[in-house]
Amino acid sequence: MTRCRIRPSTRLLAALLLACCAGLAQARDLVVVVSARSSVEALQPEQVAAIFLGQAPRFPNGAVASALDQPLGTFERDQFYLRVTGKTPALLRAHWSKMVFTGRGQPPRELAGNAAVRKAVADDPALIGYIEREALDPSVRQVLLVH
């Protein structure tokens, strides 16, 4: 996480740093998105967690759901799982080890970056992904804001 320390010596610098913090904080909010063509309107964090952890194969409205991940080690991925499922990268790896080696499923397909996830989700109402809030556009619908 980016840390900003406000130095009392220069007001201007302090103001700039504050602005930078605020901007970063906003940019770092994540949203869970589905296609604008999907009939899914909003999801609870537990429902999102169940889909991304391979525990629920459908959206609550009955439509088949397929999750998309961002690459390993990215801020988006680590923060999404920590905030929505409470799992650190190591716990998430342990979870998927259980799933894969018991034949219960494979982890979500990975796409590189917010734009790639947004484009794939926009094109297919069965997909669900997470992107930075700033990357939102009308092709996708926000179903959960991740603070």
Binding site: Q55, G86, V100, T102
Partner: protein, 417 residues
Amino acid sequence: MLFPSLAVLPAPACAGALLLVLAGAACAETGTPGWTFSGFGTVGVARSDERQADFVASVLQGDGAGRTARWSRHVDSRLGGQLDFSFTPRWAAVVQVVTEQRADNSYQPRLEWANVKYQVTPELALRLGRIALPVFMAADYRKVGYAHPSIRPPVEVYGVLPLANSDGADLSWHWSGDAMHGITQVLVGRTGVALFDGGRLRGKGIAALSHTVERGAFSARASVLTARMSIDVFPGLFGALEGFGAQGRDLKHRLDIERERATGVSLGLDYDPGRWFVRGEAGYTKVDGYLGSTRSGYLSAGWRHGNLTPYAGYARVRGVMPHGPHTLALDGLPAPAAARGAALNAALAELLMRSVPSQSTLSAGLRWDAAPDVALKLQREHVTTRSGSRGMFINSVPGYRSGRTAHVTSAALDFVF
């Protein structure tokens, strides 16, 4: 011969090379939707100060730490590789091969899983082939060290029914409610595993039902398994009993395990909100024969501080002898018959001491998630055998003294790829 080179090369090295070849091939193919390769492994050493028997992670091993050697690398070390194929969105197949020390001390890889899956709907799947038995919370992934907080699942619970997989079919139903979801699985099949001394364990008519529920940080699994079991490790003893008149035949009939009913029931609960976890399981097994019945359970907990997870637990198994007398009545027999009978009684007592386990383990350890996909663990256990049995130890010396505490120290490096 699937792995002919194993006869000459050190087995782990060979299996490792095989998996690396597969991994290399898979890496070249990453991105194609057709198949994925993944694997897991553990490099472990264990030390036990009990010199009269070997400490092992599974009674299906050849030797362990303590009697054979103070330090053993065989207790926890293993390597597994898995190929997942998906042909269409509905048809998939999986093959998992594991190499670990077997009863004959070799590391010959074993086909752990090999099945074809047909996804009838996103919720309902049918599998045909070799499938891991869904008993206990973690039985179907118990060899994946990385997925466990501790070095190994408690032997008191996971070691009592040494059936790992079955050849047959299963149906699993994935269900979801508002906040709760889970899997209900029904399985039928049969199995055969090699035991020590060239013996085999066979399970036929296996039927199992498992029900897993997850709700947030909470998960639970209940399972029931039944099979007709045969174990032919002691043909000499039971043959001799058969020749020892009516009471010998009666003893053989009650104690020998030949197509006998075996039952296992378990209930496990797990609460894992992320910062800490606590889990407990209770199990009951019963085999109509010399294995008798067991009640077992454990409770363990851990706290996660960054990459470090200290944990502690207590596990116990209590074996109950099969009903009825376990010795031949020798009063009034002519001297040669009485001598033969006394030898058979001694052999029977030894058999029951080895087969009906009672022991408890107090353990504490530390897991360090040193790197992505790698965990390093250090664990200390105090294992006390009870009720005149050798507990879950193997290779005990004649005249083994039960009731003592073995101090076991283990270190393991777990990885997944």
